[in-house]
């Protein structure tokens, strides 16, 4: 073989690899409804329980795109709409990406939302959605680090929980990479997540 053949093959492979990577991974991210962080943020260390009482910690965020939404089951107006919107959004994703996206509903009302109640609640919207429970003591430092507000408002008969409507996007490395602020649109969110996956 010619002495030059190996280096030439190597150079051709490099150029080919560069062209392929640029063809399939756009170097510009075009999203409409989300804010993308060029430097993804490390997630605070946490150890919660999912609705099946399995450990839900930082490791559960790795290898998938995770959408974190904070709410509570006694919320009859906003939370059902948000979860229905997320169900519609997931249904619009391509099958490969659908398998890589997980929807995580973290209760901000852990006193009333027992894991059992959370299970019945979240699986009503989609069997694949994950409900997450933690004590308020463990939850508060976590939400504070992520800029998620939640506080109790007492009424005559009961109490409501005011809560942030932001949906956080955690990338497959388990880092906080984008946020969807309300109001949310299922179709645009599906397009934006598809763009994030292509760019990532």
């Amino acid at each position: 073989m010619n002495k030059l053949a190996l280096p030439l093959i190597a150079i051709a492979a490099l150029i080919g690899g560069f062209l392929i990577s640029n063809t399939f991974a756009p170097n510009k991210l075009t999203i409409k409804n989300a804010t993308w962080f060029t430097k993804p943020m490390a997630m605070p260390t946490f150890s919660f329980k999912d609705h099946n009482l399995k450990e839900f910690d930082n490791n559960r965020l790795k290898g998938k795109w995770s959408i974190l939404f904070f709410g509570y089951t006694n919320c009859p107006d906003v939370c059902p709409d948000s979860l229905n919107m997320l169900r519609t959004m997931v249904a619009q994703l391509e099958p490969d990406l659908k398998r890589k996206v997980q929807i995580i509903f973290i209760t901000v009302d852990p006193e009333r939302d027992t894991p059992e109640k959370l299970k019945q609640y979240i699986t009503f919207f989609n069997k694949g959605f994950i409900g997450v429970h933690s004590s308020l003591k463990n939850l508060e430092p976590f939400t504070k680090r992520l800029g998620i507000m939640h506080y109790i408002q007492k009424t005559k008969m009961m109490y409501n929980v005011s809560h942030s409507g932001n949906m956080l996007v955690i990338n497959p490395n388990g880092k906080y990479n984008a946020v969807f602020s309300p109001p949310h649109d299922a179709e645009q969110m599906a397009l934006d997540i598809t763009a994030m996956e292509a760019y990532f």
């Binding site: 089951t73 006694n74 919320c75 009859p76 107006d77 906003v78 059902p80 709409d81 229905n84 919107m85 169900r87 519609t88 109640k117 019945q120 609640y121 009503f124 919207f125 507000m149 408002q153 009424t155 005559k156 008969m157 009961m158 409501n160 005011s162 809560h163 942030s164 409507g165 932001n166 602020s181 309300p182 109001p183």
Partner: protein, 137 residues
């Protein structure tokens, strides 16, 4: 004449009231949830302002008008004193805005397809509505 008088007595109160109610529905929710939200449009065909004094339901211990607001990215829900509809106008109660909050069910909710809601007006009349339960999307 007697027949006409008797027929008028049989008319539902809602036809005499100056308030009418359209497009009423209840947002579906998992059976485990003890609250529901109701949405509707109140129409006032009179020249003067009208108020709903009280709202009741045989299937819930308490029904209150509430309002969801979104401020600085935070959703809050607060009770309203009462629903008032200005003369010759309408008040729309819709998702993520003003709505009725139905609390503390008196019966199991999962078999229900409709929920009765009674609107008590200042003149003493009651508008009884049978609200269908629907998925929001």
């Amino acid at each position: 004449m007697k027949i006409l008088f008797l027929s008028l007595l049989l008319l539902p109160f809602s036809l005499w009231a100056e308030i009418s109610i359209n497009n009423i529905w209840i947002k579906n929710a998992p059976p485990v949830v003890p609250v529901r939200a109701a949405y509707l449009t109140l129409v006032n065909d009179s020249d003067k302002s009208e108020a709903i004094e009280k709202i009741t339901s045989p299937q819930f211990k308490s029904v209150e008008p509430h309002e969801t607001t979104l401020s600085n990215g935070v959703y809050s829900m607060s009770p309203l004193n009462k629903l008032t509809i200005k003369g010759n106008s309408r008040l729309v109660l819709k998702p993520n805005g003003k709505h009725l909050m139905l609390m503390m069910p008196t019966v199991p909710l999962s078999p229900l397809k409709h929920i009765q809601i009674n609107f008590h007006l200042a003149n003493g009349s009651i508008i009884r509505m049978n609200a269908p339960i629907k998925n929001s999307l």
